[in-house]
């Protein structure tokens, strides 16, 4: 197992190296540049020249790339051309925000989706089955940003039950050493703040989690249907095992394999959704950050932010593979 994990981690290195080169070439071939984005309408030839010189953008690309990678290997991802902030610092702020949102969304999808898919499969072709299938189709057809706006309109603006934007009430002074606000509030034992953070989290998490919810429900249903008619399930029932034990140990556990795969595959989708959800709810996460960086041609932020995300996606995929072995002992990781 350990050998497998180490080898997979080593395999990531060449892939990330290639990705970093491609990303570098791509970012530098975007029309315009940080200088023009910074100066805007009033850009003069000299002004642009000056900034490009300052940022070292006049050097040949291979030179720039080598310089950049040398810094990266020392843990320095450069500074934003816009805010002058080190990318690492900003990443420390924004990454936890997106992870907190993503985890909450995934939790919503899993906690609702797995039982729903399971029950739908057990009532195959029944009313509940058909309803959940239809609802999941509507779920995938809903653009994330539209759902986000609807939720915001209904529950935040019309009914006033939940806050409209942000992660926490701005007037609340909460120390945030980890930047996972829920964790920070819990550590400070500030339960009022905890409740406040939770309330801010609800709508964005539902908006982001709805498509994964639809997918998790469908996959759980399909996987359960596959397992339901297996011989070992019939055997388990025949020998008089408690039905709830059969459900849990024989059906659920075996049906979870494809579900876990799908949950892993959602990581990329979550990032896409995060860009849109964070825009609607003014959530200070990585998604809205990368979007801003594209608009401003903020080279360091783009390079650092996207590379960091690629690492995260790879790590999640590794975790998914490891969880296979846990769920199905027949799978030996080599």
């Amino acid at each position: 197992m350990l050998k497998f994990v180490v080898r997979r981690l080593l395999q990531m290195i060449p892939i990330l190296a290639i990705l970093s080169v491609l990303l570098f070439l791509f970012i530098h071939s975007l029309p315009g540049g940080p200088a023009i984005a910074l100066l805007g309408e009033r850009a003069t030839e000299e002004g642009i020249e000056q900034i490009e010189e300052d940022l070292g953008l006049n050097d040949p690309l291979p030179v720039q790339y080598t310089r950049y990678m040398k810094n990266v290997l020392q843990g320095d991802l450069g500074s934003s051309t816009r805010t002058r902030q080190p990318v690492v610092e900003e990443l420390k702020q924004r990454f936890p925000a997106t992870v907190e949102l993503g985890l909450a969304a995934m939790l919503f999808a899993v906690v609702v989706g797995i039982p729903l898919g399971f029950i739908a499969a057990k009532r195959y072709l029944g009313v509940l089955d058909n309803t959940s299938l239809f609802l999941s189709l509507i779920g995938i057809s809903f653009p994330v940003f539209f759902l986000a706006l609807l939720l915001k309109y209904l529950f935040a603006i019309k009914l006033g039950w939940l806050p409209t934007i942000g992660r926490i009430d701005v007037t609340r002074g909460l120390d945030t050493p980890t930047n996972f606000y829920l964790l920070d509030a819990a550590m400070a034992r500030d339960w009022e703040a905890f409740k406040d953070v939770l309330r801010h989290l609800v709508l964005p998490a539902i908006a982001l989690g709805t498509i994964p919810l639809a997918i998790v429900t469908r996959i759980t249903r399909a996987a359960t249907l596959d397992v339901l008619n297996e011989d070992y399930v019939r055997t388990a029932r025949a020998k008089g095992l408690d039905p709830s034990v059969v459900d849990r140990r024989h059906i659920m556990k075996n049906a979870m394999l494809p579900v876990v795969t799908i949950i892993g595959l959602q990581t990329g989708l979550l990032l896409t959704g995060a860009v849109l959800t964070e825009t609607v709810f003014a959530w200070p996460g990585v998604g809205s950050w990368i979007l801003d960086a594209i608009r401003n041609r903020d080279y360091a932020v783009l390079q650092g932010g996207i590379l960091f995300f690629a690492v995260m996606v790879a790590v999640v995929n590794l975790l998914v593979d490891v969880s296979y072995a846990f769920l199905n002992p027949r799978i030996r990781l080599r």
Binding site: F134, I140, S141, P143, F146, L291
Partner: protein
Amino acid sequence: MSIAQAEARELILEQPAGLWSDAFDRLKRNPSAILGGVLILTFVLTAIFAPWIAPHGPGEQVGSLSGNGIPPGDGHLFGLDKQGRDYFSRVVYGARLSLLVGVVSVGVGLSLGLLLGATAGYFGRWVDNLIMRAMDVVLSVPAFLLAIGLVTLLGRGLVQIMIAVGLTTVPIFARLLRGSILAQRESEYALAARSVGVPGRRLLLRHILPNSISPVIVQGTLTVATAIIEVAALSFVGLGPADPGLPEWGKMLADSASRLESGAHLVLFPGMAIVISTLGFNMIGDGLREAIDPKLRS
């Protein structure tokens, strides 16, 4: 005519149902697929007959300028937008744009994906390896981020946007077709065709390809829905068609997103239009998948 002859005649007359007529029969019996078909038909007809359905032109100013638009009523089914344009007409004309974008994007992705997938699947070995690894790299970047990058690179014309969204779908089609061709290549009918001397190109085009295409068609239908949403999402983050007058649903939504309190109708209608059109493609794609599943064929 002897009895034997009559029986033989009957045998010939009783043609085996083809895959497609068989699939169509099953599709007709699936209420969800029928509803999907109705939704798509409505969408397509709206797009085609937009000038006759819409009471006004998409850019025509019929009322006064106002900060939040005017809510539905008073002869305007969906109200007016803040430029005083009839919102119903704009949503109706928007169907044209979305249909165009959905179909052309998928056309781009499908044709390129088919070409790459067929090449990889048919030639195998290093060609296969090269193409499929390249597809893996593309797939490792989330489609929407890739589309954002491509649009930034290519520019914000309608054509560029359709190409960008289409390109993000290439790996899915390539993978599907390759897998399908690999399975068909080893089948007995392919062996039979090879053994009677059918040339390679003809074998691929006339025998293997038609038999491998059904999963691609299902995926194509579902991808139209994704493409419509993706283009709307691009508009939403400010990377849609540069022309501000175009009645693009995502852009109409984005323009009014900051006025939720007072101009909710400006968000609701284009949003519902997106949901209804993509729902149609998702439903029929789902139905098709079940209908042409060989496991379910009687």
